[in-house]
């Protein structure tokens, strides 16, 4: 992904006059780096500060509380955390196999002429603003899925408890579909890059030994890029967890766990988006900020882990080369 920094730093110039120019430039650009650092610190501090009243009030029981009630001023995030995990993991379940398949297609199977255009089209999917996707999801995809796809699944798979219910054009399933659309371009474009960078002698060697193309993908390419794929999936996971707008448009904003995948629910991010405007009490606003703190922590952990895995993989590939 990123290229290597030059390992040698050229010295600053010799003459006194020109040295001031160098110092000035170094100073100004270094200031930009300081601003970045301050920004990150301020981000964590400010969000935590806004959440403080709620953290003081509920502490860790916020994570296990199930009631979110602005009237009694009691807030608990358990059902929201559950909703976040179900929608994000559900989206990953669909998106990851699909994205890896697309990565294989774009790096191995597609005729060379269409590889770049199709890659660009898949990446264009990521450029669709989430609010547009949500609008489409609630007004177009929702009714269509509710009329044609959900009844089909309920009829054939309704014996699975969680899949039995009434079709609806809002709810967990819709949120999963929308998040899938958002995650696929991320994971697919990274997979494609990873697969394209597998040394061709490894691929050719496997084919020469008699493997079919699918066997070659399965036994050579995927293990070779395994770490990178994990990192890509984690990035997609982070994206899905944090999506507020499109999810809140389609998920139905309920206060408790639904009985089935078709029922309305809510996620942490979507709850913030839904209630930001009409907070009745300070504690409610602080609790929404507490949700933001949790989201920030989740995203930090997921992101840093993904970068760690990717860095380790890059080092290993360089070492092996």
């Amino acid at each position: 992904m990123a290229t290597e920094t030059p390992t040698q730093r050229l010295p600053l110039s010799g003459h006194r006059r020109t040295r001031y120019g160098d110092l000035a430039l170094r100073g100004i650009t270094g200031l930009a780096a300081v601003v970045l650092g301050l920004l990150m610190v301020a981000l964590v501090y400010e969000v935590a500060r806004e959440a403080w009243p709620s953290i003081q009030e509920f502490g860790a029981s916020f994570l296990t509380g199930t009631e979110w009630n602005a009237v009694t001023d009691v807030y608990g995030a358990r059902d929201l955390i559950w909703g976040t995990l179900i929608t994000s993991l559900g989206a990953l379940l669909i998106a990851v196999p699909m994205s890896i398949a697309i990565g294989v297609f774009l790096s191995e199977l597609a005729p060379r002429a269409i590889r770049t255009p199709v890659t660009m089209l898949v990446e264009l999917l990521a450029a669709i603003p989430s609010v547009v996707l949500g609008l489409w999801g609630i007004l177009v995809m929702g009714p269509f899925v509710a009329q044609h796809i959900e009844p089909f699944i309920i009829d054939h798979f309704g014996w699975i408890p969680f899949l039995d219910g009434y079709p609806s054009n809002q709810g967990l399933f819709m949120a999963i579909l929308v998040l899938t659309i958002m995650v696929v371009p991320i994971v697919a474009s990274v997979s494609r890059e990873l697969f394209t960078n597998v040394p061709s002698d490894l691929k050719q060697g496997s084919l020469a030994l008699g493997a079919t193309r699918w066997e070659m993908v399965r036994s050579v390419m995927i293990p070779q890029v395994g770490g990178g794929l994990v990192a890509a999936v984690m990035l997609g996971f982070g994206r899905a967890i944090g999506e507020a707008i499109a999810v809140t448009q389609v998920i139905g904003g309920s206060n408790s766990r639904p009985d089935s995948i078709w029922g309305p629910a809510d996620t942490m991010a979507s709850r913030i988006a839904a209630q930001y405007a009409g907070t009745a009490t300070h504690l409610q606003r602080a609790s929404l900020a507490y949700l933001a703190v949790l989201l920030l922590a989740f995203s930090l952990i997921v992101n840093l882990t993904a970068q760690l895995i990717a860095g380790r993989m890059q080092r290993r590939m360089r070492g092996a080369a």
């Binding site: 290229t3 920094t5 050229l10 110039s13 999917l125 450029a127 177009v140 982070g238 448009q249 930090l300």
Partner: protein, 273 residues
């Protein structure tokens, strides 16, 4: 197996096509002169408003503010990271930018809300700041990539000719990289124009009139779409579709142009190696 992979790719592109076609189909009928000359209206009161003029102007102004903050900051950051910072510090900066890129935009909205909105009220400045935080990693990472592509020999040649580091950077490196910086800016603008969550917290309530004072909240295209999508009024939904069409066309064109230009400028820089 191979058929499944092809199928997956087809499904992905089909979804893209379906979304674009749906937005076009629903948005085109509502696309008329009124859309661009009238301001937003509440509850679709006939004879009053029914357009998105103030939203378009608001998005343009707020995106401009955001870009004016994020591009200089991002370029300076990239210069520091690629020219002056020791390798470990450059790595930390890159990791930090990647972390920032992964922060959910709704959290950024909450952050700027507490920082700038509490006590001061909604404003386009606050929205601009929030959007610039979203843009910063995009600009900084792309610029750093382009700066690193410039061959080291150019820097050494500058030094050998007696130019200072500053002069080399400003008169040799940057001009070579300027194409990449421009495309990074285009992609950043497309990104900021489509963000909704930061706007909820910084300019969430706006007047149904054209506002050009950045200390006041302004209407924005994403919020018009968001509010229209949740509204039971068919008129509001119509306006939302039309706004979505305008936004989608702008964002997709911006992203595609940015992507294509970046490929071309990258090829050109590599030819100087």
């Amino acid at each position: 197996m191979e058929g499944l992979a092809t199928l997956a790719a087809i499904v992905a592109i089909a979804v893209l096509a379906i979304v674009i076609i749906s937005v076009a189909k629903k948005g085109l009928p509502a696309l008329n002169v009124d859309l661009f000359t009238q301001v937003t209206s509440t509850f679709g009161i006939p004879g009053q408003g029914g357009g998105i003029k103030n939203a378009i102007i608001g998005t343009v102004i707020m995106t401009a503010i955001a870009t004016a903050i994020s591009v200089p900051l991002g370029v300076l950051l990239a210069i520091f990271s690629s020219e002056f910072a020791p390798a470990r510090l450059a790595l930390i900066i890159r990791i930090t930018l990647n972390v920032l890129a992964g922060v959910p935009t709704i959290v950024i909205g909450v952050f700027v809300f507490g920082l700038l909105v509490v006590g001061n009220g909604y404003s386009a400045y606050a929205a601009g700041v929030a959007l610039s935080i979203v843009q910063l990693p995009v600009v900084a990472r792309s610029t750093e990539e382009v700066l690193l592509l410039v061959p080291h020999s150019l820097r050494e040649a500058g030094m050998a000719l007696g130019a200072s580091r500053a002069r080399t950077v400003l008169t040799v490196i940057l001009p070579t990289a300027v194409g990449g910086i421009v495309t990074a800016t285009i992609v950043a603008v497309a990104r900021a124009a489509g963000e909704t969550a930061p706007l909820l917290f910084t300019t969430g309530i706006f007047a149904n009139a054209v506002v050009t004072d950045p200390t006041k909240p302004m209407a924005s295209i994403p919020l018009v779409i968001f509010q229209g999508s949740e509204s039971p009024s068919a008129h509001d939904q119509e306006v939302a579709w039309a706004a979505a069409l305008v936004l989608l066309v702008g964002v997709l064109i911006g992203s595609s142009v940015g992507r294509l230009l970046s490929l071309r400028s990258r090829r050109r820089i590599e030819q100087t190696r």
